[in-house]
Symmetry: C2
Subunit: 347 residues, 2 copies
């Protein structure tokens, strides 16, 4: 099932594992980063499966009836550390040379990638420093520290501070989304949902930096191109929608959403390329719809999602996505690390 | 695997299905109601499986580590109507003569049995009237009505009002817990958890009227007598603990707990007999421990349990139950119909 052309070939990835990190992301023609495909997703699955949960797909009949569709939920909030992020982190870390793990890792994140990287680094005997915004949720900072990550809080530009620390301490950057190995790790969500659902018409995926939808869409379009893949962004954090419109990664001046996990200040070159290639539609939702969806998911499905994880249902609820009656729809509930104080306010 | 002596034999149940309701619960020597066993549980499973969910068992590694045990959760909050109750309801209703379903059903409940009976009655073309306390949670009353149950709210004694309506309208009583067919339906939870867990040391079960623990304990002790079965009651609703001490069903004057689903004002003759025969230990938990457990289940396991469903974890948290380090423990998360207002207060 390995497609030709723009896909990496499997051997590249095996090589990358034993050679240097530079092999993983070879120079590409400007504006055309490599696309991952089934081979990379399957290699990632082989690599990470002892380290991550194979999360269940749950039927949500009553909730689906509200929207006239047959609804399934991919319960990625049950993943280790409470979000899908460890999939990409482990796929990246397990393909780094041992010397890189010894040097130590650095990244930037508002929360879920921070916790996942700290968890992954500790599990593999490495060490992670994560630059987090001063406004990060206290619970996400605490989780990152609990997994023995070193947290640097800053009010300055995250990427600037991250790169400064990277160079000062000679650390290896593990990007939260814009890395083919991270995308291939997230693509394992796509492999699992296709395994679980023989019949499927549409997939709804929350979009922050775009790593999750890039991986899922690459796998879904390779296996079942007739399935519609729809990305959902908050109105107040719509970097991917704007990047698509502009044709290149956009940097947002301002982020305004309760879905902290989707508040990526920019889309990546790799993720934009995957979204351009594989995603059928991007839609936007207001915070009010996200809050309403969160309550519905809790009351009808008994799942404690975080606001970001509710974006797909918010798209159905608000009418941002309209699907034919009876359509078989899967929404990815991407995480469950809701801050208790935020939850208290939203309920 | 059908035991002799006090167990029903399978044929009794087939007979019951085609004959009259009286066959289901034949007269017993005073104080010695029949015990259900594997045969009744398996017959129930055959009968109800197209009507109920086969719920998953989820590992809860991080939460278990807090207590030094290997913890699994039986996610019965994912059951239809949001609690385990439809198992017993369907097993009862599917063994009633058609004429009884036509007459209509009546029961008493603070909530989860009410919703389950309304759901089951509607699904089978019958009709249910449910007497609920005036203090019942608005969400549980609304759910019962949404499943097309007729709700009678009363400040008087529930059983009195229920029996009055039963006789006035010539309805069939479907007891919320004290009925061998209801107990056999709940016993299917026990069959499933044993299927899922080849290795198991202890099971923690929330106890209200005792239907759930009666069924689970009967199955567990028949299949793996070495597994410890522990029941958990709120301090403010401890009818089973007191009934055990007294040796006969006790009626409580006063109920005081946030776990509305466990606030049964009395233990039943059938359930007490099952608890006496099969349960190793009953423990009690304070509301504070239930609230703390609820938060932990939400934060660590991403499950939106109701307070009753958190009782097993509350027992671990409070030290009411102490198990050897590394013990393989399953806690039944019995329901997820938390009232948003209550949840908001508890978070």
């Amino acid at each position: 099932m390995l497609a030709a052309g723009s896909y990496h070939c499997l051997d590249d990835f095996f090589l990358a594992r034993i050679a240097s990190a530079a092999v993983i992301d070879p120079p590409q023609p400007a504006g055309q980063p490599a696309l991952i495909g089934l081979a990379e997703a399957r290699a990632a699955q082989q690599r990470i499966h002892p380290r991550v949960h194979r999360t269940p797909t749950l039927s949500a009949t009553t909730l689906g009836e509200l929207f006239g569709v047959r609804l399934q939920l991919k319960a990625e909030l049950f993943q280790r550390t409470g979000s899908f992020k460890p999939r990409g982190v482990f796929n990246k870390l397990l393909t780094l040379p041992a010397a890189d793990l010894e040097r130590g890792l650095v990244s930037l994140s508002a929360g879920n990638h921070a916790a996942a990287l700290a968890y992954g680094a500790t599990a593999l005997g490495s060490h992670a420093t994560i630059v987090m915004p001063a406004t990060a949720l206290a619970t996400k900072v605490a989780a990152t520290r609990a997994y023995r990550g070193e947290v640097v809080l800053t009010a300055d530009d995250l990427l600037d501070v991250c790169q400064q620390i990277q160079h000062e301490r000679n650390l290896v950057l593990v990007h939260p989304f814009d890395d083919p190995m991270v995308i291939a790790g997230q693509a394992t969500v796509g492999l699992e949902l296709l395994e679980d659902l023989a019949e499927l018409d549409a997939v709804l995926v929350p979009v922050g930096g775009g790593g999750l939808i890039s991986g899922i869409a690459a796998v879904v379009k390779a296996e079942r191109p007739q399935v519609t893949v729809i990305g959902v962004e908050p109105v107040g954090a719509n970097a991917m929608t704007r990047s698509l419109a502009q044709g290149s990664p956009v940097r947002l001046d301002r982020l305004d959403t309760i879905a902290d996990g989707l508040a990526a200040p920019f889309a990546g070159a790799h993720t934009l390329r995957h979204v351009q290639a594989f995603v059928d539609e991007m839609v936007m939702v207001e915070d009010q719809a996200i809050a309403d969806a969160l309550r519905l998911i809790m009351q009808r499905c008994k799942l404690a999602a975080e606001p970001s994880g509710a974006a797909g249902i918010a798209a159905l609820l608000s009418g941002a996505v309209e699907l034919p009656a009876g359509a078989r729809v899967l929404a990815v509930i991407s995480g469950g690390n809701a801050d208790p104080a935020v939850l208290k306010r939203l309920l």
